[in-house]
C-alpha cells in the first residue's frame, strides 16, 4: 500500500542506424520521426510505467554507436540495471556485432555476475520486407548466449516496443528479488526529486 518508485537505468546498445534512438522515442513519446538526427554524444529520456504493480521510472540511455566515441560513451554504462542489445533485421552485420556489444557492456559496466545480468535482445525494423536475419537465427543466438528474451520490434509501426521495455523491467525486478530477497529493493530505490518537491514536512 506504499508509494514506491524504482528508478531503473536501461541502456540501448547496438550498431549505428539499427534504430536505437527511434525505439527510445517511439516508446517515450509514441512517435516515429523519420527525420531524426543521428545521435551525437549521450542522451537519455525518462518514462514512468507500472509493471505487475511496481511503479517504475525507466531512465533510457541512448548513445552514438561509432567506435571513435567509445571512450566517451562507455562511462555511461555504469549503474545500468538492464541492457537492450539491438540489431536491425535488415542488417546482418549489426546482428553479428551483438556479441561485441555485449562484451563491451559487460566490461565497461563492470558487471559483477555477467551470467546473471538481464540482457534483452531487440531485432528492430521488422516492418522492412528484405530481411537479412531470420527470427530463428536470432532466437538461437539469444538462447546460446544466456537465454535472453528476444523481441522483434518496429519503431516505425510501434510493434513490440512497449512489450520489450516492460519485459526488461520484469527481468530487473526478478533479478532484484533473487539476489537480495531480504531487501525489497523497490522500497529503497527512491526516485530522487528536487528538494523543493516536498513541503509537507518541516
Amino acid at each position: 500500500m506504499t508509494t514506491k518508485t524504482s528508478l531503473l537505468k536501461v541502456i540501448l546498445l547496438g550498431d549505428g542506424g539499427v534504430g536505437k534512438s527511434s525505439i527510445m522515442n517511439r516508446y517515450v513519446t509514441n512517435k516515429f520521426d523519420a527525420h531524426l538526427f543521428h545521435t551525437i554524444g549521450v542522451e537519455f529520456l525518462n518514462k514512468d510505467l507500472e509493471v505487475d504493480g511496481h511503479q517504475v521510472t525507466l531512465q533510457i540511455w541512448d548513445t552514438a554507436g561509432q567506435e571513435r566515441f567509445r571512450s566517451l560513451r562507455t562511462p555511461f554504462y555504469r549503474g545500468s540495471d538492464c541492457c537492450l542489445l539491438t540489431f536491425s533485421v535488415d542488417d546482418n552485420q549489426s546482428f553479428l556485432n551483438l556479441g561485441n556489444w555485449k562484451k563491451e557492456f559487460i566490461y565497461y559496466a563492470d558487471v559483477k555476475e555477467p551470467e546473471k545480468f538481464p540482457f534483452v535482445v531487440l531485432g528492430n525494423k521488422v516492418d522492412v520486407t528484405e530481411r537479412q536475419v531470420s527470427t530463428e537465427e536470432a532466437q538461437q543466438w539469444c538462447q546460446e548466449n544466456g537465454d535472453y528474451p528476444y523481441y522483434e520490434t518496429s519503431a516505425k509501426d510501434a510493434t513490440n516496443v512497449a512489450v520489450a521495455f516492460e519485459e526488461a523491467v520484469r527481468r530487473v525486478l526478478a533479478m532484484d528479488e533473487r539476489t537480495d530477497h531480504l531487501i525489497p529493493t523497490d522500497t529503497v530505490k527512491l526516485h530522487r526529486k528536487p528538494r523543493s518537491a516536498a513541503t509537507c514536512c518541516s
Binding site: G17, I40, R68, L72, P75, R78, K189, L190, C200, C201
Partner: protein, 663 residues
C-alpha cells in the same frame, strides 16, 4: 521462501518500559515495570510497530541495581521511593551504557523473524502489542524527567500503554521514526512539534523521504550515511541492516553511477589537475574581481553592397580587419554568404584577385573530381577487401539520411542535396583516409553545402573547416578533451560558485557540452542561426576560442535554474541536451562578447586564461579596433598586456597556437 511472510526488522530498541500501574489504580502492581523491546518491522511491505516484553517482567529494584550510569535512569529514579538514594550512590561510578548491558544481563533472544509474534495477544505476555502504522493516528512525545511516547490509533477503542524510555534513546527512536515513517506515512503536525500526525500514504509524502536524505541539516541521517557502523543510537538501539541498506541503497542507486561515470570521464578527459599544477597561483582566481560585464550592441548583417565596397577593381578584398569586424558584429546577408564564406574559411585568400580565384577553382575542381573518381571506381570486389572504406561508406549512407532532413535542401527521398552530401563526404574520405568519416562531420558539411550550392566549392570549404575541427574527430579526440579543459578553466574564472556546484555534482568535466563543442552548436540552434553563429566565429574575433565564451554565455543563462533546481549529474546532462532549438543566437552573441570584454579588461588575468583567449599575443591586440568598445577597456587591455609582459617573453612558444594550453 515464497510461502513465508517476509518479515524484516527495520529497527530495534531494547529497554523500553510499560508502567502497568498507571492503568491500575488498585496499586497491586504499583512497582511493576514491564521491560521490553520495541521494533519496527516490515512485513510484506506493511510497516508494523511491535512491542514485546522480555520474558520476565522486571522488578524495579532489579532495574535500579543495574542502573549504574545512564542519566535517563537517574532521572527516572527521581520518583519518590526509598531506593532513590541507592541510585544516587551508584550514579557516581560512571560507566558506559554498554557495561550496563552486561550488568543487567537481559537475555537477548535471537530474532525469530516474526513467526507468530505479530499477534495482539502474545501468549508470553499480556503486555505485548503490535499495530500497523497505517492504523496509527498520532504519536506524542512527552517528557516528565524521562521521555515517553503515547500512540493513538485510528480505532479509538484500542488504547495502547505509553512506552517509557527510561534507558534513553527516545530522541533517537523518534529520529528513526521520522526517517522510517516519513517516507510512507508520517509527517509532523505543524503546530505541535512533539506530535506526529499519521496521514494516508501519498506521493508527496513519500518524496519527503528522499528530501530528508538529501537534507544536510539532518545530522543523524548524515552520520548514518557516512558511517552507519560507528554511529550509535543510544545503548540499546539497533538499527538493522535493513535501514542501512535503505540508506546506502539510495546512495548507491542515486549517487554511485553518476560518480562512477564522472570518474571514468575524468580518466578519459585528463587535464584539470595538470592545469592546476601548471598554474600554481591558480587559486588567485577566487580573488579576481572581473568587474561588471559591459553591454554590447550588435549591428545589421553585412549587405552585398558593403561587401563589394570592400573589393578593389581586381577583386582583392580590402580593409579586411574592418570587414571582419562588421561581420563579427552583425553577420552576413544570405546573398553574400556564398562568396564571403570562401574567404572566411580560408579557401580563397583575402588578397587574391578575381582571376587568381578562378584559376584556383579550376585546379581545385580537377583535384576534387580526381579524388571523387577514386572511390567511385572501386569495384565491388575491391570494396569487399577494404573494410575501412566499406565502414565509412555504410556509415555515411546512414548519416546522410539523418542530417537536416527537414531542411528543404535535404528533405524528401532522392533529393539531389542528399547525393551531394554523400559524395562530398565520401570524397573527403579519399582526401583524408586516416580520419575517414566520423559522425558529426555530416553536420559540419550540411550548412556549407547549403550555402555553396556547389559540390566542389562546398568540398574545399569543408576541408578548410575540417582543418580547424580535425582534432575533435581524431582517434583520441584530443581536440574535445582540450576544449573541455579550457572551458572548465574559463568557467572557473567567470563563476567559481557555479563551477564548484558543477564539480559537486560530478559534472566538473563539463561532459554535457560535448555535442556543443564537437559540431560547434550545430544541433543546438536553428539552421539559420547556425549560419549566423559560424560566420561570426570564423572572423576569429574578438578573441581566440570565442566559441568557448559562447559556451560560457549559454551556461551563464542556465546556471540559475541548474543550481536552484539542484540538478545532479543526469539532470544537468538532460537539461543541457534539451536546450536544443530553444536558444536565441543574438542574445548569446551579446552575452559572449560582453564576457570577452569583461575578461579582457581584467587585470592580473591568470596566464592560463590569457593563453586560451589569445590575449597575450600581439595579433589580438591589433584586432581590437572596435569603435564601440569603451576607451577604458582598451586602456586596461594595454595595461594587462604590459603587466603580463614578462610572461609574454617566457611563453612565446605558446603564442598564436590555438590549442597550446594543454597538449
Amino acid at each position: 521462501m515464497a510461502s513465508d511472510p517476509l518479515v524484516k526488522i527495520i529497527y530495534e530498541h531494547e529497554g523500553v518500559f510499560i508502567h502497568p500501574s498507571s492503568d491500575d489504580d488498585d496499586g497491586l502492581e504499583q512497582d511493576l515495570l514491564v521491560s521490553g523491546s520495541l521494533r519496527i518491522l516490515d512485513k510484506d511491505g506493511e510497516i508494523i510497530v511491535e512491542y514485546r516484553p522480555l520474558e520476565d517482567t522486571v522488578d524495579p529494584s532489579n532495574m535500579l541495581c543495574a542502573g549504574k550510569d545512564s542519566s535517563s535512569v537517574v532521572e527516572w529514579a527521581q520518583c519518590p521511593g526509598e531506593r532513590s538514594h541507592q541510585l544516587l550512590e551508584t550514579q557516581q561510578s560512571y560507566e558506559t551504557e554498554w557495561d550496563m548491558i552486561n550488568a543487567v544481563s537481559f537475555r537477548k533472544r535471537p530474532c525469530s523473524n516474526g513467526e507468530g509474534s505479530l499477534n495482539h495477544s502474545h501468549e508470553k505476555s499480556r503486555w505485548a502489542f503490535t499495530f500497523s502504522v497505517s492504523d496509527l493516528r498520532s504519536i506524542t512525545l512527552k517528557e516528565e524527567g524521562w521521555c515517553f511516547l503515547v500512540f493513538k490509533l485510528k480505532e479509538p477503542s484500542a488504547s495502547l500503554p505509553a512506552l517509557h524510555f527510561h534507558q534513553g534513546g527516545s530522541r533517537e527512536f523518534l529520529d528513526m521514526i521520522e526517517i522510517i515513517f516519513v517516507y510512507v506515512y508520517v509527517c509532523r503536525a505543524s503546530d505541535d512539534a512533539t506530535c506526529f500526525l499519521v496521514s494516508t500514504p501519498n506521493k508527496a509524502l513519500s518524496q519527503s523521504f528522499e528530501n530528508l536524505l538529501d537534507d544536510n541539516n539532518y545530522s543523524l541521517v548524515n552520520k548514518l550515511k557516512k558511517d552507519p557502523y560507528v554511529t550509535t543510537l543510544g545503548g540499546f538501539s539497533k538499527v538493522t541492516n535493513y535501514l542501512f541498506d535503505a540508506l546506502r541503497g539510495t546512495e548507491e542507486q542515486q549517487r554511485r553511477p553518476p560518480e562512477e561515470v564522472a570518474d571514468l570521464l575524468g580518466e578519459v578527459i585528463p587535464g584539470l589537475e595538470i592545469n592546476q599544477q601548471e598554474e600554481p597561483g591558480f587559486e588567485v582566481i577566487t580573488r579576481i574581481d572581473l568587474g561588471t560585464r559591459p553591454q554590447v550592441t550588435r549591428r545589421e548583417p553585412l549587405s552585398a553592397e558593403d561587401w563589394t565596397q570592400h573589393q578593389d577593381p581586381e577583386g582583392r578584398m580590402i580593409n579586411v580587419s574592418h570587414l571582419k569586424q562588421v561581420i563579427f558584429k552583425g553577420g552576413l546577408c544570405h546573398a553574400v554568404r556564398k562568396e564571403a564564406w570562401k574567404f572566411l574559411l580560408g579557401y580563397f585568400p583575402w588578397d587574391s584577385t578575381l582571376e587568381e580565384r578562378k584559376a584556383l577553382q579550376r585546379t581545385k575542381t580537377d583535384e576534387y573530381f580526381r579524388m571523387k573518381l577514386q572511390w567511385k571506381s572501386v569495384s565491388e570486389e575491391q570494396e569487399r577487401r577494404n573494410s575501412r572504406l566499406r565502414d565509412y561508406k555504410s556509415l555515411i549512407e546512414k548519416d546522410v539520411n539523418r542530417t537536416d532532413r527537414t531542411n528543404r535542401f535535404y528533405e524528401g527521398i532522392d533529393n539531389p542535396g542528399l547525393v551531394l552530401l554523400h559524395d562530398i563526404l565520401m570524397t573527403y574520405c579519399m582526401f583524408d583516409f586516416d580520419l575517414g568519416y566520423v559522425q558529426g562531420m555530416s553536420d559540419l558539411l550540411s550548412p556549407i553545402l547549403y550555402v555553396m550550392e556547389n559540390e566542389v566549392d562546398a568540398f574545399w570549404c569543408f576541408v578548410s573547416y575540417m582543418d580547424q575541427m580535425h582534432q575533435n574527430f581524431e582517434e583520441q579526440m584530443q581536440g574535445m578533451k582540450t576544449q573541455l579543459v579550457q572551458l572548465s578553466t574559463l568557467l572557473r574564472l567567470l563563476d567559481l560558485a557555479f563551477w564548484n556546484y558543477l564539480e559537486s555534482q560530478d559534472s566538473g568535466y563539463l561532459y554535457f557540452c560535448f555535442r556543443w563543442l564537437l559540431i560547434r552548436f550545430k544541433r543546438e540552434l536553428s539552421f539559420q542561426d547556425v549560419l549566423r553563429l559560424w560566420e561570426v566565429m570564423w572572423t576569429d574575433l574578438p578573441c581566440q576560442n570565442f566559441h568557448l565564451l559562447v559556451c560560457c554565455a549559454i551556461l551563464d543563462s542556465e546556471k540559475q535554474k541548474i543550481m536552484e533546481e539542484n540538478y545532479g549529474f543526469n539532470e544537468i546532462l538532460k537539461h543541457i541536451n534539451e536546450l536544443s532549438m530553444k536558444l536565441d543566437i543574438e542574445e548569446i552573441l551579446h552575452k559572449a562578447e560582453g564576457i570577452c570584454l569583461q575578461i579582457k579588461s581584467c587585470k592580473d588575468l591568470p596566464h592560463s586564461v590569457s593563453t586560451i583567449l589569445g590575449f597575450n599575443t600581439e595579433a589580438s591586440g591589433s584586432d581590437l579596433t572596435d569603435s564601440e568598445s569603451s576607451p577604458a577597456h582598451i586602456v586596461s587591455h594595454r595595461q594587462d598586456a604590459c603587466s603580463n609582459g614578462h610572461r609574454h617573453l617566457t611563453e612565446t612558444s605558446h603564442n598564436g597556437c590555438k590549442v597550446a594550453f594543454i597538449s
